[in-house]
Symmetry: C2
């Protein structure tokens, strides 16, 4: 393990002296920045002018004419020790102490592999740090780079020469999916010398459009993978080599042969032979408006209040949607919640597929890849859209419209009881508030949501959809089982792969009105797991006392295990293991137990790659469903800050190991600040049904109160399941429902029109 | 293990000679039954007149004046060997051979423990069999019996004497929850002699209403459990003994002491200090009507067609909702689907709680306990209600109105892809069709649904809600951890318990238009499980060939294991084990693999009770997530036909063992007819949040096509996520969405009214 994260605050920078604000700005003085229209809240996402200010400050730190490629300009959040008192004061209606606003900047010098990480103090307009990144720390990719790579490859004679061997039909359109190169530590001899994977490069997968439909730009090229995979330096746009892909059952690479025709497989509706006509519209209507409010807490930040919940919403380049300062009924729950990382390793062990392992947040960015949801019509009902602003390569702000949608949805019955003696049914519905964001990473889509409900649950849901990343397989093997994937279309193999998501939970649970702080001013929380264990029972025993407590063998009890050691922990469905975040210094008023939130985590198959493999080393979170670490500033991303072509050695596994090496224990009394990293995911064995676009695969983590409240927190949901409120439509004809044995007619599509009682004008 | 199921078809019956149709009917001749208005479909639930016909035939088989208590009169479904050709012919538009209609009847002679099982041939109006049940075979309970038990206990001097010791406030209302007695094999000495648990009895838990609010019949008595538990013979209404409950931390039973006041905990809305006023109505509107059709296939049976799905819906006393003959796009999928059983064992090992183990289907009946959903307003949108007809104790038909509701719901995005090169997003929504039924079993509610979707998934969902079954705990222990439960209210202990559901899946998968039949005329299906396994890798190896296939340690492949042995099988999240039902003699046209449906099963903690305990012996299904048996007539209920006070020895565990003893193997080629029993459930460690009524705990099994179709079955869902169709409401003011940095106002409850474009009159 040789990788080593260089701290962002390091001032040492060989070959480049960071400039202080006093230095002359070679690119001209900073422009006049208008005073912020809102109080500059320390959690407010960077504004357009702060992005501009940041890039100007960085440019000014370099000699005039230096061409800079900005990769990330994002809010550097204040240290928790500083921010927590701010938030407490803010909520108490006091005036918090001002906190300087800072931006975190990653950039490279164009045409080079030199990547820098800088911090700009926006409040006093200085560059606080500016350092070249160390080895194995590479910047993320971006759209500009990807477009340039695609163009360069199409124009490259070596690539063209290989394509020519395929003798593709006249007018064939080549489409290129650039991928991160991954890591394998292997040296390659190339024309320009030796090449190791410590150089930042990209591997690309080539496809063609349906030659019968070449002019359709949305033709699904994943149905036409080509066996050619160039490797390119995205900084210099030099093609390093062109790999030819194995297309059989083993790793043998055959010389390229002329392409054989095969059918297309399109997902666009106009290409379907027929479309269903019998799916009638379904509308969600809120005639009295929605139940939530949105107000700005900064120019870009939004404070949402809904059903006793309140929380701040941020948006950044890497994580996309972030929640801060989450409260329920004014009780602090979570300091910060976000998807921290994602890893998608593939199963195919053959070169070059063995390096296929995407880290879509660190390699690309859930923020910068976020969809404009309004254009996609991705939500139903009454929707509020939150927009963001990020940076382009030149350091100019880029509007990211409608990246988060906010809406309510019905989730079925919330609770119900019928007293069989009186026949009175009391039933309420479960309402949910959804904050949804969607990212497109080349072929794939992830639909990511925080879901709040009226019972004080908070869920995080991931839906995987989009198009499988495909590779060519010999047409004649179409009916032969393949060891590394599913043949989803003639000549098209969809490799097995795993999806790992890592949800970072930074809790501040307390039933007081403010978090209970540890000496380090962090919130005092503890992590435990509970299991149900049978009481001892020995049916063979002759000793009458042996089974005194459990004479019939039916008894079991609950065993609670505190987590004192930072590290990785597993689920255990066989023992019903449930992880809990507790506020150990509070007490439930009914039963005195520490108030908590439990974690419902769907089990996942841990990473299959060997612990000594780069897949495993890099995805530091993919081996356990739960990691617990001690809170440390800067430890935000489960796989480390720089995942692109990373070599491992940074991320939760390493942080927990470092804690253990320091013999740091978590304090059972909650004197420390634990951070919980929840891993969940999908083992994706593709089906033919997943092509040419896959139906969503959904997985959900739920945070649910456990002895946090003194009774059902939804008990005061107004008995709403009444016809006057619901405006439901009974489809049975009058007098029929409830009468058995009546002859009923076929109920056709005309049934169930608008309820005339509620929508008189339309029935 | 001494229990032994007596076959229903047995003609032997000591003490009672079954009568043939030729016998004189002592209760008078059968009445004129009007000709059925529909073809008497063999799967049609019994009609009111068939129920009457059945009870008349049974009464006629006894001497005049014999008082009969009918427990079950339900359709006896034809043998599969007879019914399958019928269904195939019916679908092919041919005229199927008529099949006699039969009813299955369970009844007792009033005032006795004698229980009988009979079959009435309705077509030729004969009693085909009529036999007294063997030992340990007891009838289910019913509402009439429960009401009688409650009244008898309240009037009983022994019970009154114990209650008097509590010195309850003047006017206190006692409320009684009768429970099945369970089994423990223990002999008790009573006034009337020795009593074993082979006698059919009930144990009852006593509660009182809030003495401050005694006149409120819906006051939550579960907040006031009393330490008195009478045992009663429901046939004779004799009180056998009155148990006093342990209320401390151990099994010590203290003499009854005067009751100490404690606060109430009500769930009815008018008793809440305040109700939320900020939850605005949410309506589901289908302006062009619904997308499904319902037509009768018999007087009581309903055929539903929706989005290429078609299936028949039945309803019976025990299982409630049953699906038959399920097809998608005319391809046969499932012959029969139902919840087959349920077991809820409790953890408390102390007498008499050690016997607390409910089998709500067999002990009571999901059909007879089904809620009238229209009265409860349990669904949202445009709803079709299906009603049932069952029997009362006198053998007269009882209408069960609105026991199943049918409606559509939106389930978020179904699939999406954005081509980042053209920025075109294609997105469709997932639509679901829900068939929901709800049963109330004393304190508890189960919301049970089949959920079909547009991607050809079929899910079965269980939601647990209602009120915890509570027991008293000493008030002074309220702040002490209890080994067997959670204190959810002062003086109220909610014991730990497990919920096991068993979904019975009788498949007929085939991609042909008709099931491929085995020699026994059953459908040829096979069961396998798949796991992802790493390729061999030895990082220490000096042998260059050791890692040839997996040089970087990243590779894995899929391993398929056929299930050839009937028995119980476990999930294995660590290996990503997925069970599949395959049609081995069909072939996917794309990749030649056998078409299948895979099972997404949530893991459960298996039963904690010891294998030698009665809880474990009785719940034959609660130890494995999957059971696979060979299809045999009459094997419908995972815990056996008679669960009330059962002793085990009948159910899936025994059936599979019998198969193995016969050395019966399942045929890998699918020559047999496997039945799959999926167990799933909840480990319920109660929270204070679960009282006085619990928010739903939801769990879901999904059956999902896997290489059954040649491509995404939802590809032809008309791109519906368009504003013209969705009629969504954007809450941001015009021009704001997408523009970052604008000052936005607080969005209040008035936002999001009806979209004027769609509902002009209401905006």
């Amino acid at each position: 393990m040789t990788a080593n994260t260089k701290e962002a605050t390091s001032k040492e920078e060989p070959g480049h002296a960071p400039l202080s604000v006093a230095n002359t700005a070679s690119n001209g003085p900073p422009p006049d920045v208008p005073p912020p229209a809102y109080q500059s809240h320390p959690l407010g996402p960077l504004t357009a002018s702060e992005i501009t200010q940041s890039s100007i400050r960085i440019k000014a730190s370099w000699p005039s004419g230096t061409e800079i490629h900005f990769k990330i300009i994002t809010l550097l959040e204040p240290a928790k020790a500083q921010l927590m008192p701010y938030l407490v004061a803010e909520r108490a209606g006091q005036t918090p102490l001002d906190i300087d606003r800072r931006s975190f900047v990653v950039y490279s010098l164009r045409g080079t592999h030199n990547v820098y990480e800088a911090v700009v103090n926006l409040t006093n307009n200085t560059v606080e740090s500016n350092a070249k990144l160390g080895p194995f720390q590479h910047a993320n990719s971006d759209g500009e780079e990807i477009m340039a790579v695609e163009q360069a490859l199409l124009a490259d004679p070596k690539v063209q020469a290989e394509i020519a061997k395929l003798k593709l039909p006249e007018g064939t359109q080549i489409v290129i999916d650039p991928w991160g190169y991954g890591s394998d530590g292997i040296k390659h001899e190339t024309e320009s010398g030796k090449f190791y994977d410590d150089l930042r490069v990209m591997q690309c997968f080539l496809y063609m459009r349906d030659p019968e439909n070449s002019s359709e730009p949305d033709s699904c090229h994943y149905a036409f993978p080509l066996p050619i995979s160039p490797v390119i330096d995205p900084a210099t746009l030099e093609v390093i080599r062109v790999d030819i892909l194995p297309t059989g059952l083993d790793d043998k690479v055959e010389p390229l042969k002329p392409w054989q025709p095969r059918p297309p497989n399109e997902y666009i509706p106009e290409a379907q032979a027929s479309l269903r006509t019998d799916l009638k519209p379904l509308h969600v209507v809120q005639p009295e408006g929605v139940s939530f409010t949105v107000e700005p807490f900064s120019e870009m930040g939004r404070l949402i209040r809904w059903q006793k919940w309140d929380f701040k919403v941020g948006f950044n380049q890497r994580e996309g949607m972030v929640l801060y300062d989450v409260h329920y009924d004014n009780k602090p729950l979570f300091y910060r919640l976000s998807l921290s990382d994602m890893a998608i390793p593939y199963s195919d062990p053959r070169h070059p597929f063995h390096r296929k392992a995407a880290f879509d947040l660190g390699d690309a960015g859930a923020g910068i890849m976020a969809n404009n949801l309004k254009l996609g019509c991705d939500c139903l009902g009454s929707i509020y859209y939150i927009s963001g602003v990020l940076t382009d390569g030149s350091g100019s702000p880029v509007n990211m419209p409608n990246v988060i949608c906010v809406h309510e949805q019905d989730a079925g019955i919330g609770w119900k009881h019928t007293n069989y003696r009186t026949n009175r049914a009391v039933v309420t519905r479960q309402r949910e508030l959804v904050l949804q964001t969607i990212l497109t990473v080349s072929n794939y889509e992830y639909i990511l949501s925080f879901v709040f409900n009226t019972s004080a649950d908070l869920a995080y849901e991931a839906r995987a959809t989009g198009v499988l990343s495909t590779q060519p397989v010999d047409l004649e093997l179409s009916h032969t089982p393949h060891p590394y994937g599913t043949i989803v279309h003639p000549g098209v193999l969809a490799g097995y792969h795993q999806h790992f998501f890592s949800l970072r939970i930074d809790p501040m649970l307390s039933t007081s009105s403010a978090p209970i702080l540890s000496p380090s001013t962090g919130p005092r929380n503890a992590i435990v797991y509970e299991e149900c264990v049978p009481l001892p029972f020995d049916p063979q025993s002759k000793d009458p006392s042996a089974n005194t407590q459990n004479p019939h063998g039916t008894g079991y009890t609950l065993r609670t295990t505190p987590i004192l050691e930072p590290g990785g922990y597993d689920l255990s469905p066989q023992t019903g293991r449930v992880f809990k975040i507790l506020s150990p210094s509070s007490h439930n008023p009914i039963n005195n137990s520490p108030p908590g939130y439990k974690l419902h985590i769907p089990p996942m198959q841990p990473m299959l790659a060997h612990p000594s493999s780069f897949h495993h080393k890099r995805a530091e979170f993919a081996d356990h469903s739960v990691y617990v670490t001690k809170y440390r500033e800067g430890e935000l991303y489960a796989g480390g800050k720089y995942t692109n072509q990373s070599r491992g050695g940074t991320g939760v596994r390493s942080w927990a190991a470092a804690d253990r090496n320091r013999r740091d224990k978590l304090d059972a009394e909650g004197g420390d600040e634990p951070v919980v990293w929840v891993q969940f995911g999908l083992q994706h064995v593709p089906r033919t049904e997943d092509f040419p676009v896959m139906p969503v695969e959904t997985t959900r983590v739920v945070l649910r109160p456990a002895n946090f409240f003194d009774r059902n927190p939804a008990i005061d949901v107004r008995e709403p399941s009444r016809q006057e409120v619901n405006c439901s439509v009974g489809l049975n004809r009058e007098g029929e429902a409830g009468s058995s044995g009546k002859h009923e007619q076929v109920l056709g599509g005309e049934g169930g029109k608008l309820a005339s009682v509620c929508y008189g004008g339309h029935a």
